[in-house]
């Protein structure tokens, strides 16, 4: 940071034109540039909780020939502000601190005093035997290594290393007798590597937590860890007319193939068609889409000595706005895979197919025209689809068979069809892969494309 500010063009100075400001809005991360330390009020420098300052504007360029008194002045002011901010001692409020004991053998931190809102989405209760009574089990709140490390690094948790294994409940009065709590460095050394937690996975966890997401493990590390209910495979019911139509067209196509004995030198009989859309339709003979059986020979997987693919879903991600209950987690908003960008290549088609096999289909995006959606934005299409599945009488069913409803399954007016580009970009299933390159995280979403379902003509 010091080095950055010493470069003259990093000077906070004139706000540039609106166009530049817009460009900066579109630049992805807030952390991209240096911080403008002069934006800090001088009074805040000495208070217990330093405020993270906002980024300022860059100067256009250093003055030609150097030696601008104004630029030097602004530079000095910024540097002083930075040093003053960094000089402030980091403190915490005693009343909001939680207490925990780290058990290396269990790879869990037992929370003895839980304070603050963190525990509404972190930690899980586990039944552990009490030392003096062999049979009796008692519930206690435990944190996974990443959760304990995150709280500790944040300054919300004091954690002691366990000294005498298994003796609990702990008398709160002898906490002082345990000596000083773990330092952040010590916690990093102790907790990374426990319970499959790599440094990359912790960095992704901490980054997402700081943004307010709820992050849970995708694979329960123990039986007492709450997981969301297994995904119910929702088969989209095709309407009778649709099914009939697909069957009919398949039969017709078979029939024609049989009797015309396709001549591959002249397979498309141009003169049969009366318009472009039917002509284009006849050209679609290349098998496509992710439902086509993947005939790739899995030679590598048969070899048991080969290392496990790094591509497995590690975290479930919930947006801050998603109502989350710790004991009964809902279906996640995103599925996150964490890999080391230096030691792994992008996933192969086979690895992606294995990932998608475990994922549910995401609802198609909303049409663009609709404003102020009344339902929650997380699962826009789901509620309407569910609402339609109320029980229907036999008579209704029969009448539907005979007179198929005009709009199949979901009665949507035609204007509410999603924009094909939005649907194509979203894909049918989506997995987020976080590639961590020595601390820098780039997140990519890998959507399962469905171009064959959205022809342009």
């Amino acid at each position: 940071m010091d080095d950055l500010l010493e470069q003259p063009n990093k000077l906070p100075n004139f706000p540039l034109s609106t166009e530049d400001a817009r460009d900066e809005d579109q630049s992805s991360d807030e952390e991209d540039g240096g911080l403008d330390w002069t934006k800090l009020p001088s009074a805040s420098v000495n208070i217990a909780r330093p405020v993270i300052p906002k980024r300022g504007e860059k100067d256009y360029e250093p003055k030609a020939g150097g030696g601008s008194g104004l630029q030097l002045h602004v530079l000095d002011r910024a540097r002083t502000a930075m040093f003053n901010t960094l000089r402030a001692t980091r403190g915490v409020n005693n009343k909001s601190m939680s207490y925990a004991i780290w058990y290396p053998q269990l790879a869990r931190a037992h929370v003895t005093v839980a304070k603050g809102i963190h525990f509404s989405s972190m930690g899980h209760s586990v039944q552990r035997p009490i030392a003096d009574a062999d049979v009796k089990l008692q519930k206690r709140l435990e944190l996974l290594p990443e959760e304990a490390l995150y709280l500790l690094e944040r300054g919300a948790l004091w954690c002691w290393q366990d000294t005498n294994e298994g003796s609990w409940p702990i008398n709160m009065s002898d906490i002082d007798a345990r000596g000083p709590p773990m330092s952040v460095q010590q916690a990093y050394a102790c907790m990374i590597g426990k319970e499959d937690l790599t440094l990359e996975e912790y960095q992704v966890f901490a980054y997402l937590k700081r943004l307010g997401y709820v992050v849970t493990r995708a694979e329960a590390p123990s039986l007492s860890y709450p997981v969301h209910p297994p995904l119910t495979k929702v088969k989209f019911q095709k309407s009778f007319s649709q099914t009939f139509f697909t069957l009919w067209s398949a039969v017709v196509r078979k029939f024609f193939r049989l009797f015309s004995g396709i001549n591959w030198w002249k397979p498309f009989r141009i003169h049969h068609y009366t318009n472009y859309s039917s002509l284009f339709e006849s050209l679609r003979f290349v098998p496509s889409g992710h439902t086509t059986p993947l005939q790739v020979r899995t030679t590598r997987n048969l070899d048991s000595s080969s290392p496990r693919s790094p591509y497995h879903i590690f975290y479930h991600l919930y947006k801050p706005s998603t109502p989350f209950r710790k004991t009964a987690p809902p279906n996640p908003d995103f599925y996150v895979v964490v890999v080391n960008a230096r030691s792994s290549l992008m996933p192969s088609l086979r690895e992606l197919a294995a990932l998608y096999d475990k994922l549910p289909e995401t609802p198609s995006p909303l049409p663009r025209q609709r404003q102020a959606p009344t339902t929650s934005q997380n699962a826009p299409a789901a509620p309407s689809a569910l609402a339609e599945q109320h029980p229907i009488s036999i008579f209704q069913r029969i009448s539907r068979l005979i007179f198929p409803p005009k709009a199949p399954s979901i009665p949507l007016p035609p204007s509410r069809k999603p924009h094909p580009f939005a649907a194509l970009k979203a894909g049918k299933k989506m997995v987020v892969i976080a590639a961590v390159d020595s601390g820098n995280i780039s997140f990519f979403r890998f959507g399962q494309g469905a171009f064959d379902e959205w022809p342009m003509i």
């Binding site: 004139f14 706000p15 034109s17 609106t18 166009e19 460009d23 579109q26 992805s28 256009y60 003055k63 601008s68 008194g69 104004l70 002045h73 980054y207 943004l211 307010g212 997401y213 591959w264 030198w265 397979p267 009989r269 141009i270 003169h271 049969h272 009366t274 472009y276 284009f280 679609r284 003979f285 290349v286 098998p287 496509s288 005939q295 790739v296 020979r297 947006k319 801050p320 995103f334 960008a341 290549l345 992008m346 192969s348 088609l349 934005q377 970009k425 894909g427 987020v432 390159d437 780039s442 997140f443 990519f444 979403r445 890998f446 959507g447 494309g449 171009f451 022809p455 342009m456 003509i457």
Partner: protein, 403 residues
């Protein structure tokens, strides 16, 4: 980013824009060189009935274009300007060898000789926009320097001013307008254009430009639409479909043309086949498919064509061997068989998101030789054994996905 947003136009020009759009809708109305003629609408009923029995008459108007096969550039040259206009306007096939995409070399020459401001072709529009943009940046830099000078002067008197307080207006891209017409742009425009004004008619040069079709485009026009015939450069005779099919595959072998065409030289991982499968698939879905080398990808997908919208998707073709053993014997230099490194993915994705395109990895499976016999490759029937899957890639920005 601002480079690709259209420049704001005055109200008078806006009208021109909408009339140009109508004009484009008219010129580029047909997505394929074939036209389904409308004049026989009177016999609509009888034709529908006949159509049911596969007996419909000659309702399709086929332009029957002609091109010369050029083995050295691996392309097909359409030299007849009528044909090249048809192929460009109906489906955006090919590229002018002396132009950005549409063969406009002759039009540019005529424009330059007449010193015309109207009827500008796309290259000239772009050049003008770039010149304006350059002028804007110069103006802005000058204003900023002026403001800095004023602030510096005030600082010497002991005051620290912000840029607003200096009173210098710094132009913004939203409001800036070129004060004078930008300097004439076309690089190949002769300076003495005005002198030659009188003798325009005698001076119009011969069109030295031709339309260049890639092998995929040529085979698509030839095989699926039957509206192109390809001429052998040596014998000057039209090549037969079988001959073309053989040649387009053999041409990718390192030893071509000394190579004999026999079954051992046909392989499912031939670059022509892989590219053709992709090209054909997206064409059949109604996309306009064009080369994407400019954006570090294999193909670009346009919704109706480059004159209507920017390309929406950028495709990278990733071949996947069904049987890894086939890869060991591959004589071709196939790109992207191994997965990208994360650095390369970021590079390609950065280039494409900068120009508002969505990156798509198109995986093409190469049929295993153990599953499909090489004899299948003798005819296009082998194309149905490939399969295509897309992965749509976008950056995921957690800070912007919170609600």
């Amino acid at each position: 980013m601002p480079l690709i947003t259209p420049q704001p136009r005055g109200p008078g020009k806006k009208k021109g824009g909408s009339s140009r759009r109508n004009e484009n809708n008219r010129i580029y109305a047909n997505p394929l060189p074939l036209i389904f003629s409308a004049e026989e609408n009177r016999f609509w009923t009888s034709h529908t009935v006949l159509g049911l029995f596969g007996l419909s008459g000659s309702r399709v108007v086929n332009p029957h274009c002609e091109g010369i096969f050029d083995p050295y550039t691996r392309s097909v040259w359409v030299t007849d300007s009528v044909h090249s206009t048809i192929l460009w306007r109906r489906g955006f096939f090919g590229k002018g060898t002396l132009s950005r995409s549409e063969p406009t070399w002759l039009a540019r020459q005529i424009n330059a000789r007449q010193n015309a401001e109207k009827n500008m072709v796309s290259e000239q529009v772009t050049a003008n926009r770039r010149a304006e943009r350059k002028q804007f940046k110069l103006d802005r830099a000058r204003a900023i320097a002026q403001a800095a000078e004023a602030a510096e002067a005030a600082f010497k008197e002991g005051r620290v001013l912000t840029v607003e307080e200096t009173g210098v207006v710094i132009p913004s891209a939203a409001t800036w307008k070129p004060s004078r017409p930008p300097p004439s742009s076309s690089p190949d425009q002769p300076t003495s254009a005005a002198v030659e004004d009188q003798k325009v008619d005698e001076d119009i040069p011969d069109n030295v430009e031709h339309l260049q079709l890639t092998l995929q485009e040529a085979f698509f026009l030839l095989w699926t639409l039957d509206c192109l015939s390809v001429i052998d450069p040596d014998t000057h005779a039209a090549m037969s479909l079988e001959e073309i099919w053989q040649t387009l595959q053999l041409i990718h072998f390192p030893l071509y043309p000394s190579l004999a065409s026999d079954v051992t030289n046909t392989r499912f991982d031939n670059p022509f086949l892989i590219n053709y499968v992709v090209y054909h698939h997206y064409r059949s879905l109604g996309w306009i498919v064009r080369n994407g080398i400019k954006f570090c990808v294999d193909y670009l997908l346009y919704k109706r064509g480059p004159v209507f919208h920017h390309a929406e998707f950028a495709l990278v073709v990733c071949p996947v061997y069904e049987d890894e053993e086939d890869r060991q014997t591959c004589p071709f230099d196939l790109q992207n068989v191994d997965p990208f490194s994360w650095t390369w993915l970021s590079t390609v994705n950065r280039v494409n998101s900068q120009v508002q395109k969505t990156l798509v990895l198109t995986y093409v499976t190469i049929p295993a030789r153990s599953r499909c016999q090489a004899a299948l490759l003798a005819s296009p029937a082998c194309l149905q054994y490939f399969s295509i899957r897309e992965i749509v890639l976008r950056r995921f920005i957690p800070a912007r996905m919170r609600d």
